[in-house]
Subunit: 185 residues, 2 copies
């Protein structure tokens, strides 16, 4: 059924970006077809190219959406906890949870998109990762240690845990990194 209201069309576009943001993080850009994305929204692949220039052009938009979600999450955490240190602690706990490991689609944009961003030509997309990591690093900063280093540790641990999924090491990594980040060293 062709033609939908303007607002509906705009919403469809928005939903397409969101679906891409989820699927890209889950499977990686290469393992998601335009059909997959459109099917996730309940549309057919044909209309895609009226809204976007190419599948590649969707990556920056998807990345922006994912990073915006992360920023919103950090803000929400600060609002709902006693102090920033408590927010940091809670973030680290959930970042290193099995749930986060097993659900990359709604998880950390950096962890989910890092490889696709590493090989994209789009400077815009690369900038999104760069500022996202910098922002997270600052948010994680604390008297005792460099937040940027903490961010790298979290990202590395999550990626290793995902790649090792199924083996005992996968859980061990999450536990031991959480323990190390909790103790003052």
């Amino acid at each position: 059924m062709p033609r939908v209201s303007r607002t509906q069309a705009a919403q469809n576009r928005e939903l397409t970006v969101q679906a891409a943001a989820e699927l890209f993080r889950e499977r990686g850009v290469d393992h998601v077809s335009v059909q997959d994305i459109m099917a996730a929204v309940g549309l057919t692949h044909g209309g895609f190219y009226r809204q976007f220039d190419s599948k590649e052009a969707l990556l920056p938009e998807a990345a922006r959406y994912a990073y915006d979600s992360m920023t919103a999450r950090l803000t929400r955490l600060d609002a709902s906890t006693a102090d920033h240190a408590a927010a940091q602690h809670q973030f680290i706990q959930s970042y290193l949870s099995a749930a986060h490991r097993d659900r990359p689609g709604r998880g950390c944009p950096t962890a989910g998109l890092i490889q696709d961003i590493a090989r994209t030509d789009s400077a815009e997309t690369r900038d999104l990762l760069t500022s996202g990591v910098a922002q997270l690093g600052e948010w994680l900063d604390q008297p005792g240690g460099d937040g940027l280093v903490t961010a790298c540790t979290l990202i590395g641990a999550l990626l290793v845990s995902r790649a090792a999924a199924g083996s005992p090491l996968s859980d061990q990594v999450l536990e031991r990194v959480a323990a190390a980040l909790a103790s003052p060293d």
Copy 2:
């Protein structure tokens, strides 16, 4: 020119695995064609399927080769330094170097293959990563801190640095993580 001596054929097979190990780490399995691999060895794509069942089947062999190289490197480092702590220090320095960032093809197998291994169905391949990370973690162990955590930090930092290549953050990450791992905290 068809038909080559047995030893030549065996060497060709070996070279194919090595080329795949390099190309896979550089570009990721999806961005390397069977032709690319065979061309790197100086052969045509046709003969590939006499030696290997599929491109997928090459991943475990390539991963094994890459991890063996890493193990050899660690052993060599221990042999060429005063004590293990010195070897660890030197490893960390070179791991976090711009050269390592810019040359994934010969670099850390975990950093290079982590996404492809995360997606593969091959338990054998996943086991290679698992034991590789565990081994590196033990090798990096020290009185002050958990080597597995250090390994995650290194891997995360390298991946972030690669994805951010070109921006100042890319160098910053390497420097600040190196500084953090050098100081006792």
